[in-house]
């Protein structure tokens, strides 16, 4: 057998490689220092032996000929594609000098630290940033910070902790755990869980629950595999999810089918909410959302009268006008039905063993760095002073404020960017052209990545090559179990891990000495809170659940005094209750109760524009074989989804004289991109759905082509500056207006 001399390394996957948010256990097969296969680990409770296409394609990703294996410096103009290989010493020396000069002249805050959503990046990037002294940690161009943070902020305000659908993921024996029960109904709200492991949730857990009896209610403008199997499908107009949530609350409250005991004992503000939802009777919601009144009522009744039931929600919630308000209303739905931290409901999700990889929340930041530093950082953090929710919830920059500041230089100029795991122009940013122009003007830009992409090609002065997950040590605490990633082989070429790169840079740039000599020391120091270390976890197969009785284990922690800092029963909120009327929102100058806000651009709010652009455009449809803008160069994956696809209903296509498989333009007042039409009845006749993150790595990288990003990135049709009152949400990723134009003889 040719495979017998292989060794198998057990590890935890968390990009780079699969790119994803999950923490799948894997078996990495190694022969002669080379990874030959990556398979699922049958003993790991997260994925139980399974693995997604992106995980299975890791060897092809690791050994891809386009991977950058050595540090590079730019030798032509930005965008000319002229690079020269340099040593790590030269790269580090150059960066150190530049960033020290900039700090001396303009202050540390003039350097932004930019991440995407892949890899174990939050830890290394914030570690470096705080060592350098900058407060500006950002997902550049992520309009309204629309990626989970609005939902997390809403849950933090409402219930003090975060919740996720309980698919037994917090229990070692999973579905066989005696204390677990499947949700009777699952609402899949604005997500297609098949496509991946969004926000740490293995999408196929939903199928596992369905096999164990869970029924579905699906809220989605498209017909999907899930809607085909749903008892009720609310096919809504994109952007109106807030109205649907309020309408369902109206039905549940007025029909008195909520959990009266839970509401009486554990919540605050019910009467105020009851009054507010009277503004959203089902008739009115039907008119707003296109969802027939009967279906809305049916969904509300099924959800409220079958306990336990749970909600699984997706990124479009964040992208809604007033995203954090829509999230609040949806949180109220599981709360009012008593589906909080109960088996099969929306269980409270906490980092395993209470270990944090990095200081996401302001509270964690304070714990790690002290109140004084946090206060000082907040004075300069971009967007923090304009938006109290941005300031008080987490340590992020508000991206819509950032782009303005990059353009105006006010209140202070941005001079440099450290970009790590982020394809800003080719994927993450709304209005990429605007970001391209603003960032071109910066004095100095470093990109840390595995492959060249439109962003690194257009902007980088120095390119540092990072390793894949199989070539490094790391750790994971989001959510559970606690896990480590084990190095299966030595790095390919001269690549280094994000942790190694950032520790070295931190040592060179820190204003006070860094206390770690090695990455292993740092990891073990973080794992200390969990009473374990890297070697111990590795010896156990790479993972461990928290011990019995630990407050990060479910269930009913609000009854047992395990959620509040003072150890009393209840929730970690100002009133100690789950708040239907939020004291924190009030404190942050926001409406304490949820409300509906119409998209800024829609048939309702801009009827004149709608005449010119008569289709609703929703973007960001996930592909099961790509993670955002990654993986387009991986043959095993690209073969399965070769082109940027826009879905169009057959009647709409017929009216436009468009056939299946034809290349078309999607255009609106902001731009035009070229997509291939998929004519399918799964689309709503008035809505077209376009995939995001498209660039063509097989085409010319240098300007002006930049791997085709201007032709195929749907974000060229989106804009910045639509953020909600909280600073969160309000983007047009998910709902704007467009038209589809036929291309005739290469012309429109």
């Amino acid at each position: 057998m040719k495979k017998t001399d292989e060794k198998v390394v057990l590890s935890t996957l968390w990009s780079a490689g699969c790119g994803s948010h999950g923490g799948c256990g894997c078996q990495i097969y190694v022969k002669d220092g080379r990874v030959t296969r990556v398979e699922g680990d049958p003993n790991h409770p997260f994925n139980q032996g399974r693995l997604c296409p992106k995980g299975l394609a890791i060897p092809q990703y690791m050994y891809h000929p386009d991977r950058v294996l050595y540090p590079l410096k730019r030798v032509g103009k930005r965008g000319e594609g002229k690079w020269q290989r340099i040593s790590w010493d030269e790269a580090y020396d150059t960066i150190e000098k530049k960033l020290k000069d900039i700090r001396a002249k303009y202050g540390a805050e003039s350097v932004i630290f930019c991440q995407g959503t892949g890899r174990d990046i939050g830890g290394p990037i914030t570690f470096l940033m705080y060592a350098y002294g900058s407060p500006n940690w950002v997902q550049v161009g992520l309009a309204g910070h629309a990626c989970y943070t609005p939902r997390l902020g809403a849950m933090f305000a409402t219930q003090g902790h975060y919740s996720v659908l309980d698919a037994s993921q917090f229990l070692e024996k999973r579905y066989d755990s005696p204390e677990w029960t499947p949700p009777k109904y699952i609402i899949i709200w604005a997500q297609n869980p098949i496509a991946g492991c969004h926000d740490g949730f293995f999408g196929h857990w939903i199928i596992d629950c369905m096999r164990r009896g869970s029924k579905l209610i699906v809220i989605d403008p498209r017909h999907t595999w899930f809607s085909s199997r749903a008892e009720v499908h609310l096919q809504n107009r994109p952007g109106t999810d807030g109205a649907i949530a309020l309408g369902m609350l109206n039905v549940i409250i007025n029909e008195a089918i909520y959990d009266k005991e839970f509401v009486r004992d554990w919540t605050y503000g019910f009467e105020e909410l009851k009054k507010r939802v009277q503004e959203y009777p089902p008739e009115k919601v039907a008119e707003i959302s296109w969802v027939p009144k009967e279906k809305l009522i049916q969904a509300a009744r099924l959800f409220a009268t079958n306990k336990p039931s749970a909600i699984q929600w997706g990124e479009p919630v964040d992208a809604m006008p007033a995203g954090s308000v829509v999230a609040q209303a949806i949180n109220h739905l599981w709360a009012i039905t008593g589906n909080v931290d109960n088996p099969g409901g929306n269980v409270i999700a906490r980092n395993s063993h209470g270990v944090t990889t990095y200081p996401f929340s302001s509270a964690e930041l304070t714990k790690l760095y002290g109140e004084e530093l946090v206060k000082k950082l907040n004075e300069k953090r971009i967007g923090a002073n304009k938006y109290p929710m941005i300031k008080n919830f987490r340590g992020w920059v508000q991206p819509d404020v950032l782009i303005e500041q990059m353009e105006t230089g006010k209140p202070y100029p941005v001079r440099a960017a450290w970009i790590q795991t982020s394809n800003i122009i080719g994927g993450q940013a709304a209005d990429p052209r605007r970001h391209y122009k603003a960032m071109k003007k910066l004095d100095f830009i470093v990109c840390v990545d595995l492959f060249q992409n439109p962003t690194s090609m257009a902007l980088a002065d120095i390119f540092l090559p990072a390793v894949s997950i199989c070539e490094k040590e790391s750790f994971r605490t989001w959510w559970q179990p606690l896990g480590v990633s084990v190095k299966a082989i030595e790095p390919i070429g001269e690549c280094q891990s994000d942790w190694e790169i950032n520790l070295e840079m931190a040592k060179r740039l820190a204003t006070t000495p860094v206390k770690y000599q090695t990455v292993r020391e740092l990891i073990d120091d973080r794992l200390k809170d969990g009473g374990t270390n890297f070697e111990k976890l590795k010896a156990k197969g790479g993972w461990e659940f928290p011990p019995e009785g630990h407050p990060t284990r479910p269930y009913y922690r609000y009854k047992r005094g395990l959620l509040r800092a003072d150890g009393k029963p209840g929730f970690e909120t100002p009133t100690g209750k789950l708040e239907f009327s939020s004291k924190r929102y009030e404190e942050w100058g926001l409406d304490p109760l949820p409300y509906y806000e119409e998209p800024k651009e829609s048939p309702v709010s801009t009827p004149e524009l709608y005449k010119e652009y008569p289709l609703i455009l929703t973007t960001g449809r996930r592909s099961p074989v790509f993670f955002h803008s990654e993986h387009r160069m991986i043959p095993w994956l690209r073969e399965l989804d070769p082109d940027p696809i826009v879905e169009i209903h057959p009647q709409t296509a017929k009216d436009l004289d468009i056939v299946d498989g034809e290349w078309v333009y999607i255009e609106n007042k902001r731009g035009r991109v070229k997509f291939k039409a998929k004519v399918t009845p799964t689309a709503h006749p008035r809505v077209v759905s376009a995939a995001h993150g498209w660039w063509l790595p097989e085409t010319e990288g240098k300007e002006p082509n930049l791997f085709g990003t201007w032709q195929h990135n749907i974000n060229n049709l989106t804009s910045m500056g639509n953020q909600g009152k909280s600073g969160f949400g309000g983007t047009n990723y998910r709902s704007s207006l467009c038209r589809i134009t036929k291309i005739r003889d290469g012309k429109e």
């Binding site: 398979e39 296409p53 596992d208 017909h223």
Partner: protein, 109 residues
């Protein structure tokens, strides 16, 4: 020797493509060669649009002979995220099929 095959409960196939990439990785296939392929089937009734997926084996499927002689299941079966695939002697699969939702058996060799 009893003939073996794959039982696929396509009621649960989500079209995630894990089987296809598992197959390509296992056999190091390139250029479109693959032992299993998933097709999307969209049908309409007056009440609903239905989206289903059906995997079928191709001429390149060897039922992962190298794996199964070692007692492992084929790569596609192991990694199927919807756990809707089963490997075994066809006679056993037929018995199992009787208790399952919409299903098909493939006996590629």
């Amino acid at each position: 020797m009893a003939r073996s095959g794959l039982l696929i409960e396509y009621e649960y196939c989500t079209g995630c493509h894990a089987c296809e990439v598992a197959c390509k990785q296992e056999h190091n296939f390139s250029g479109g060669m693959v032992g299993i392929r998933v097709e999307e089937v969209v049908t309409e009734s007056p009440a609903k649009v239905h989206v289903d997926y059906i995997p079928f084996t191709t001429r390149f499927c060897d039922l992962c002979a190298e794996r199964t002689t070692k007692g492992e299941v084929p790569a596609c079966v192991k990694h199927c995220q919807a756990t809707c695939m089963m490997y075994g002697p066809v006679t056993e699969l037929v018995k199992a099929m009787a208790e399952r939702p919409r299903s098909a058996i493939f006996a590629p060799r």
